[in-house]
């Protein structure tokens, strides 16, 4: 593949600054740029590299103002990050084509497969499963009885989907994801023993959901655990039974959503966040990494941080106090001493 800066600028609806005939053959990171590659600058942290990168062409935001000479040719666009994403998709070699149905997959004859479906070796598809067109199921996947999978979804090697769950169109599930395992429900009996509460519900993933590797989503006790359209979950996340995550909400790795909690739309939740059960998070809420949420957040757009989480600016001031806590406490003791003295 070979493009000129002018061709790429045309494609991105950007403007060239430098040599429009500059050629690129591949993409690179700005701090590892080599001649003949195209890179981008979006995160201001990487600005210094634009003056040293060997990349031939650099996509930047329209408002980028160089403070030193830049060797490469610039393409100015409205949003450098999303423009680069578009180019990545163009260069993407990973779009594995249709590999067909492996003779070493075990597919129950009661199941219905759409057109152009791929099923990898050692995959098991249970009874009465319905799979839409263009679905790509890698090897070693397990699909339980009565599962439905929409069109264009991708299940990577080793994904496990328990019986009765529903997966929408255009979903991506990475290796080790478990959908529909039993919710954690036990009723105490006499004598400290527990009785298991059967988990009879399911999990519903709406369209365009992406789920990172080894994330687990438990089935509902009754009804459904629901992951709404466009939700993106990173790796090693836990979603408890009967939880619901609203449209286009994004959650970073290792966070945990406890049972029966409802999260609104367009929320952004950092990594290693813990959210207790049976609460509600409003729309457009942002929660910083490592936070602990122990009560409902009712204000849409709230930005929270800390464990327990409070309004982010307050939390940041408190984090400064935490850094200085020893000095603050010494101050108190000194004040106390001073006062005692003045009373003597």
């Amino acid at each position: 593949m070979e493009f000129t800066a002018a061709q790429i600028a045309g494609f991105l609806k950007g403007t060239v600054e430098g040599n429009p005939e500059e050629k690129v053959f591949n993409l690179s990171k700005i701090d590892e740029g080599r001649p003949g590659t195209l890179t981008f600058l979006a995160n201001p942290k990487y600005t210094p590299f634009i003056y040293s990168t060997e990349a031939s062409v650099i996509v930047v935001n329209n408002d980028f103002a160089a403070t030193q000479p830049v060797a490469g040719t610039l393409i100015r666009v409205e949003d450098a990050y999303s423009s680069f994403a578009t180019l990545l998709a163009m260069f993407d070699q990973s779009k594995a084509g249709n590999t067909g149905i492996s003779a070493q997959a075990l597919i129950d004859p009661s199941s219905q497969l759409g057109e152009r479906v791929s099923v990898g070796a050692f995959t098991v598809i249970g009874k009465n499963v319905v799979i839409g067109n263009n679905v790509l199921i890698h090897p070693q996947v397990f699909i339980g009885n009565n599962v439905t999978i929409g069109e264009d979804s991708k299940l990577y090697p080793g994904v496990k989907v328990y019986h009765d769950c529903i997966i929408g169109n255009g979903c991506t599930l990475h290796s080790g994801v478990v959908i529909g395992s039993d919710g954690f429900g036990f009723a105490p009996l006499a004598g400290n023993d527990y009785q298991k509460i059967p988990q009879l519900g399911n999990v519903i993933l709406e369209d365009l959901v992406e789920i990172g590797s080894n994330t687990t989503i438990d089935r509902a006790t009754l009804g459904s655990t629901i992951i709404r359209k466009g939700v993106k979950l990173d790796n090693l996340i836990q979603v408890g039974h009967n939880a619901e995550i609203g449209e286009n909400t994004v959650i970073a790795a290792q966070s945990g959503i406890s049972g029966s909690t409802k999260i609104g739309r367009n929320c952004m939740i950092g990594g290693q966040v813990g959210i207790i059960g049976h609460i509600t998070i409003a729309d457009d809420v942002k929660i910083g990494a490592g936070s602990g949420i122990e009560a409902s957040i009712t204000q849409p757009g709230a930005i929270m941080l800390g464990a327990p989480a409070i309004e982010i600016n307050k939390a940041r001031r408190n984090f400064i106090h935490w850094r200085n806590l020893d000095e603050i406490v010494r101050k108190i003791y000194s004040i106390e001493k001073q006062l005692k003295k003045s009373h003597e």
Copy 2:
């Protein structure tokens, strides 16, 4: 399936309040109740829904006192939650019957399988494995050499059990669980390198243990990592080598128990708790979600919260101080200023 309120009350040893001939066909959640379904009220958080639910029959605790008219028929019982669990089990469709031994499983001939054992496709069973009666092994499971599995246990798709481990009767292991991987032990060598400490022990799960998806339990260096009778572990939990978890202890998702730590009986440990290695937790201890335990807890029945964890009521007061920390610190500065002034 169709039951009258009177039939269900008889079965649960409860009393009907309303129409004993009211019929139900299915179960529902109280906030999603539809006519013809039976629901329950146990968590006071859901009390408001009893006045609006369309469910025909509602199981409540004997001491429930309505403050408004309830449309549905009530069945009063001693413990609504465990009664409902009993009904769920009655309605449970998921009890997959014996599916037999798949021709596509690989079972070493030296292994012994009990009666009515099911083994799914693409499962591997190693040498000298002993499996009790009625065990249900789903597809894609791995059972290493010399493993023993007791009667009535269930291993969901993709469970991995390393060599020499022992699983008791009536255990349930969800997808992605790893039992018996190597403990994390490395001896420092000269020059910053590490030498691996071979991990020669095993993992023992006693009877009635349930383990959530993608939880990992490492084998002991020597001896055994032991999970006692009736322990319930949620998803994505880590149990380090040589740890021991006492009878009927329950641990929520994403918690981590470091190596050689011993946890007592009947403990309740919240989600995302971290417990350091080589310590002891007494019986009946409760630890709140997100806590960090850095020292032994010797008092049985202690209730702890925070990181580092302290007595829960103290921690809750401290959490209020955390919320107000900025105001508190400003107060100190103001006092300091005042004092300075008065000394001038």
Copy 3:
């Protein structure tokens, strides 16, 4: 196997204190020592057990000074812990020999396998894979197209390695590990939707890397996520796209390293630590369990603790203040009251 204390001392270059003809047949933990076994004492926490253990021979550090009589025979060595590790390796029964290529594995004919390679049942090896000598691949493993695996590496049951990743010599990957799943990258679109950023890079594990069960390492967007020589990762760890972990760094369970972060050499990172993206951690840094790292650590050898993390001694003092926070705050209110009074 049977050895005398003198034979073992000769092998370890240690000195015998007691009966050099004492015989041992197996190894034990010091608190579970039985006659005829050899144990060791390295962690001072276990010192009391040396006076009660029934083990016949005990390996101790040269500087161990008994304060009571010890029944067993001692072998004094420079480093009891690493000497014991050496003995464990001698006794290790788990070294599964070459089991050959399973007829039930699916290996693409374009792949090249070295000498004495084992491939377990239901394993899938993709196109153009290159596997070095003596590699042991257990059942149910997935190796994507164009993957390279160095000599003497071990992949336990159910490991998943996505296309284009590179695994060095002498690496060990435990069950459920996922190498090379997509990094978590989405560009916001108009209307709250997200566009997936294709992840075109790979993951490189250098030599002698060990990775615990169910740990996930995402591929780079461009370039490589790199795990340097000798790194040891425990279970359930998340490593984000384009991260880099320096030589011989050790990370305990459930920690998370966000995207594009670079960690130095010889670091020791405790369990459940969270490290944000796009920062740098210097060499030889130690980070206590449960810490949150929100900024680069530029000082080599720094020891940090807390969330947010600060210098460890300061953090420990602050933890004491946290335990006493309620008393401290009451003190402030009392001072305030006193001052008000004195102004009246």
